[in-house]
Homo-oligomer: 211 residues x 2
């Protein structure tokens, strides 16, 4: 067993600590967030800190870094009120990772990395055409997190697009079928394989797999 | 391409919608949250909405359901100020899933499902002995999310325990080596396999894999 306490963690070099802490929290639903400013200039960024908040209403959150570190996505969401979240498949992972490079605001990451913007009626934010699982959100609230100047950005799901028949009879989306990947830490990406689904648990009853 | 808009989603039966929306956000870092009340009564619950907030200070958040739906974990964290998060390996997945059954507050899920509480000096919350990757957090803030009565619970990492040598030379924790799993939706669990790590991205430079 290896132990690390606060003072050990605090003593580490900055990048070592970032790698360690970022990977400690586990696998993440890495996705591309698509936005546009009021003139229609497009922005695309890779985000991994996406979190399910509720199903009814359908609310999704993500953590946005401090304004100085990642200004374009947040500014576009604030001015436009709408944004898209797009899953990543291995076929365009290199392009997705490359969106994390620091491009000037007038440069579209779509064009720079080689991904295709796609629009849906009434949604003034670009989807990623190549993505098999994508959804648009209307901004509900931006909650500042005072401890480190980050933000919890909460949106309501407005429209969902799936690139095939990935939905099981009970509503569950089979992300293995869709080819969605996940991430860990700052820079590591993973494919997944299903272990199984388990029935709703009840006290005194052994967990049963859903076949 | 299949489209679903707000009114379609709203028209669905409750469990169908919950399965769909919960799986739409992608793979999640499913973990067991260990707490104790002031008398030392232990509680263990499975949570999937864990989110990295920052590395310096090392902050982790998770979404807690409304108080009526999931009262024990939140009440224990509020009264005790400390809690643990424990990754899940396939070897004890059934037990981990079973903690989601609605046990009365005086019943320890550890005992009911067959997992072993473990204590570390000065941490008044139980770790899961069987877990290979686990950490304790001190409560920093509970932020209410008004839209659906959930909460973002933010904690600072106080101590980390790893069950083996999973840390790469640059600080990255190899969760494949540790055997940590991830989840999707309400009830589906996954093993992962590495696609690769990519170097820090720069404009005009093709993404390079870290060997």
């Amino acid at each position: 067993m290896e132990f690390y306490n606060t003072s050990v963690i605090q003593s580490w070099e900055r990048f070592y600590r970032a790698n360690f802490i970022n990977s400690l929290t586990g696998f993440k639903s890495v996705s591309l967030v698509g936005t546009a400013d009021e003139s229609g200039n497009e922005n695309l960024g890779i985000f991994s800190s996406i979190v399910h908040i509720g199903s009814d209403p359908a609310l999704v959150g993500y953590i946005n870094r401090p304004r100085m570190a990642a200004p374009h996505t947040l500014a576009n969401i604030e001015s436009n009120g709408i944004y898209t979240i797009n899953h990543i498949q291995p076929s365009f992972l290199e392009q997705a990772h490359q969106t994390s490079a620091k491009y000037p605001p007038e440069i579209s990451e779509f064009e720079s990395v080689g991904l295709t913007p796609e629009y849906h009626e009434n949604i003034k934010a670009p989807f990623v055409k190549e993505s098999n699982v994508k959804y648009a959100l209307s901004l509900k609230e931006i909650i500042p997190i005072s401890h480190n100047d980050t933000f919890l950005v909460i949106g309501k799901i407005e429209v969902v697009q799936l690139g095939g028949n990935f939905v099981s009879p009970d509503g569950f989306i089979d992300l293995n079928k869709a080819g969605s990947i996940c991430s860990n830490g700052i820079d590591s990406y993973y494919a997944t394989s299903s272990i199984g689904r388990y029935e709703y648990a009840k006290p005194g009853k052994k967990p049963q797999k859903i076949n």
